[in-house]
Structure formats: structure tokens, C-alpha cells
Symmetry: C2
Subunit: 322 residues, 2 copies
Amino acid sequence: MSTTNPNGLITRFKFQSLLRQDSAGRRIILKGTISGQPALLLVERAAFDIDPAYLNSFPRLVTHVNNLGDNDIYRWYMANSLPDGTLDQPTPPDLKLNLIYPCTEAHVAKYSFQQSRAVVETPEIYTKFVRPYMQRCREEGRLNWVFNIIEGRTEQENVLFRSEEADLKDDFLLLPDLNWDRKTIGGLHLLALVERRDLWSVRDLTRGDVAWLRHLRATLVKTVEGLYEGVEGDMLKFYVHYQPTYYHFHIHIVHVDLDPSATQGVGKAISLDNVINQLDTMSGALTGMADVDLMYTLGEASELWTKIFLPLKEGKVPKSTG
Amino acid sequence: MSTTNPNGLITRFKFQSLLRQDSAGRRIILKGTISGQPALLLVERAAFDIDPAYLNSFPRLVTHVNNLGDNDIYRWYMANSLPDGTLDQPTPPDLKLNLIYPCTEAHVAKYSFQQSRAVVETPEIYTKFVRPYMQRCREEGRLNWVFNIIEGRTEQENVLFRSEEADLKDDFLLLPDLNWDRKTIGGLHLLALVERRDLWSVRDLTRGDVAWLRHLRATLVKTVEGLYEGVEGDMLKFYVHYQPTYYHFHIHIVHVDLDPSATQGVGKAISLDNVINQLDTMSGALTGMADVDLMYTLGEASELWTKIFLPLKEGKVPKSTG
């Protein structure tokens, strides 16, 4: 019987409908029939073969290379991993390519594999070593772009919303995360930057900020519901990064349908609700998030690892990072 | 000049080395040269085209279908999305396929897109509605497989480690997560099931459990370091799910190199260090995790949504779930 030949089943699959697409579009689930009986076909892009012989010939095998744009040394493309034969219709591209040419050693370092380490930042390590490091980052002008946006000097085309709250302390801007295409609602990813400048990170939040945080969260829900049709408050998740990329307090807002990736990883993201809640249930003897251990992951090439956590692991005293 | 033709650059790329492979193997970063100058080529599997015309012809286009195994109505394969031409070497498969045939309505429901909702489970909702639901799940025998493994009756081939601690309360089993191939160290994903049966979920952890949790975490680090060469304690992350899939307390242990996916999503995963820490800094007036709000996401088809949180959203009183 033909059903006993598992390979033949695939080509006999008759497509009816797409049930869903996920994993950043790289998985599709098709509903259909085989010999009149219902069947599901789950199709996923496979991992690449990393056999050097294949990688060697790879650039020659690529076909239908279609340049989508370029900026200086950066170029991006869609392409097919194989020549298509004599088919009735062109096959959709199955590859995204990014070319950096000519590249520098800094590019190579950035894209090379880097071992990560999970570290525990105690209140003492924070106060003695990490906070001075944060201060230096702020003083070096790494936050100028943030202040320029807040003050309306640059990048206004990226400001999706600027609040006008009764209390200046409650004001914020909404920016799109770089990975959001600004239109797919299920992939919505916003950054809420507070306008006040006294909060560097989640570490600065105290028990006294619970009411402020709850008000901010509620305002953000209302604002995003108003900006994006079809988005309801319970379709949004709020989190902060620790360590963040820059030391000006900001909150990530994502749609629940967004496929969780590194931005939501354990050891990087902390649920905002969790933070509010921890502050709210904290012993009165403590001030706030500066008084707790925080676990997070660091790349071995990061300054926080090389200058603070690696020396500590080796039993040495980190040099001043301020 | 040929460098001004961006498409020609790709085929002239001369491969030197693989810098890294990530995104579950679906991105590779190649270092090489073009006309003797250094270049980086980032290659990613693209999202699928979901044009119905393409989906219709898709099963016919698939070639080199290679059946890897089957179990009842489930079959899995590797395949190529296109016929290869007359190449010197066979092209590695670029697709993973799973076929469920014949399938039922339950399969269709399981794999269809389901809207998620972010809910806040207050201590009151937990006590009145969610805990009775957990109890019913336990009484329905949904945990028999867990007890069978703990008691050594079934699935012993899946037990990677069984502890023999001085205090029975400290004993645990290590199982592989279903998504781990059991050999790639950078993708390591284990589940630690405690042998004690009084902890249903993170909700049962109290301020008095901090020392027990710290001891358990330390023992798990030592055990995993001993089982897998090259794994150091600071390459591991620990988290719990809330809601979990089953109501017997277990801890997820993953390698820091594992690409974060839904299992680490905000609204699903809570860092174990965060839990220990929250218990440790909690006001003495509170007992433990049963006294805090917990935010998490639920599919609209889940019982917790249809029976508890949807009625609450509509201002109704949920019927007894016990």
C-alpha cells in the first residue's frame, strides 16, 4: 500500500490552508489531505550544514541574488540556495544575506562567537564597581543620543509618541525597537524612554517608586492601545534589561505574539511586573532594587566581564572602573 | 568596476572560516575575502513565502525527501526545497518536515494560531481559583508519569542522574528537555525534578525555603559540572515556568549559549535566582510566593483562560474549577 511509503506521502499532500507561521516566519504549518484524509505538514527551515566543503562551494551555489539595498560597506540581499530547474513559477528566495565588505578586525570580533558567563551582581559589587562603571559610561557622552531625542534635537522621525503628562516626572517617549518593522502588530516592540534623568537602570528603583511605576505602566497601556488598533492591554508584556545597553531607564513593550528571542532571555530580561511586585513586597529594612542580588549574563569580551567579574572570579580586586 | 555590482560580490566571496552559527543553526557567519580584501558574509534562512500559489505547489517542489523515523501517525523527514541540478556534490537538506497523518481535530486545534493573553494572577485569584484547578489536575492522574519516573517504574532510560543526598528532602532527578539532542553542550537543557511531592509549583515556595533552594541550586551546579565536561557553573542559567506544564516542582537548567526561545519568554520563565532573591528580601509579614502577584501569558484555548481569567475579565465569577 502506498501509505506505507513515508516519502511518497509528502508529494501527495494536497494543501488546503495555512494554520500558522511562527519562528520568525521560518516555520509554517499546513493543513491538507492525503488520499482524502486530513493531514498536517509542519515545515521548518533546517540548520545549515557546516561541513567546510559545503561552505567552500556555498557562494557559488547561491542563485537569483537580489540586492535590496546598501549603505557604505554594508549590503543586504535575498537569494536562493539552489538553482531552480525548469519550473513553471519562480521559487521564493530562501536565504537572507548580509555582506560587509571590506570589513575590519572590529567587525570580525563583533561577529565571532563569544562565550557568555552568568554572574551574580551583589549589592556590594554594584555599589563598588558597577555603578562607577555606569557613571563613566554616562560621562563619556554615550547618552547624548538619548538626550538629543528627548530634547527634540535629533531623530524625531523615530519618536512614535511623546507624552504630555500633568506631572513632568511621568513623561516618556515611545521609540520603535530596531528589530521591529513598524507595521506588523504581532511583532510590535517598543521602547519607552522616561524623560526624567535620575534613573540610570532598574537598580535605581526604590520601594517609593511603586506608585509611579504602576501609573507609568497604566499610561503606557492606554497609549499603545490608542496608537495601534487591535492591541488590547492584555496583549502586551513589559520588561527591562539588566544590564541594559545604555544607562537611561527604559522599558521594553512587546506584543504577546512576538516570538521570544534573546531580548527576552533569562539573565537579560526582567518582567516589569516582577520588579514592581518585588519592590512592593520588600522588607521595610531595604531601600529598593539596589539592595538585591541580580543574576545576568555577560559576554567574555564585555568590559563588565574583563574589568569586574573576571577579576572577582580569580579572587582579585577589580581596578577602579570609574 | 566589478565591486560596484553588488550581486557579483557574493559569488566572488572566497570562504576562509566559520565565525559562528546561531539562531538554532539557521544563521551562519562566514569570514572570507573578495578580491583579496577581508569580508564577512552573514547567511540566514529566510521566512517562508505564504502566497497560496506557492504553498499549493510546495509539496511537489520538495525533493530528496528522507524519512528519519516514524511513530504511529507521526513521521519526520529532512528534505530539499528545490531539485538540485547537476552539481558535483549533493546539497545538504534545507528543510525539516513533520507529517501527522491522519490527523484529528485536536491536532488542528493544537497547531492553529491561538491568541495569547497576559494575565495577572493575584494571591486571591490563586487561592480561590487556580490552586483548586491545580489540585484537580493532580487528582486526575496527570502526574502519574512523574511519580512513575521518580519511583523507577518507567522511562529510566531518560533519567540522566538520580541524586542520593543525605537528606531525602534534597533529592532530585535530572531529565533531558524534549528539545535537547542530548549531546550538543551549547544547547544543554535539563529538567531537575525534585523527589519531594509537597511542592506543586513556585507558588508553594516560602521564605523558609531559601536555604533549601540555595543548597539545591549549588548541588545542581556541581552535578551538571560533573556530568558534562567543559560546563562550568557560570555557564548555566536556572529558571522555572509559571504556569508550568505539570504541577510538580521542577527547575529548567540551560546552557548560557542556548538561543533563548519561548521557554525563556517573559510571562513564562522566572529566573530561579530572582525567586530566591525575592523570598530572601520579602517583608516578614508575608509567607512566600503565594502572597505575590504573578504575571504570565495564557493561550485563549487554555482552561485557565476560558474558566478563570476570561470570566474575571468579563466581570463574572468563575465557576468552581476544583
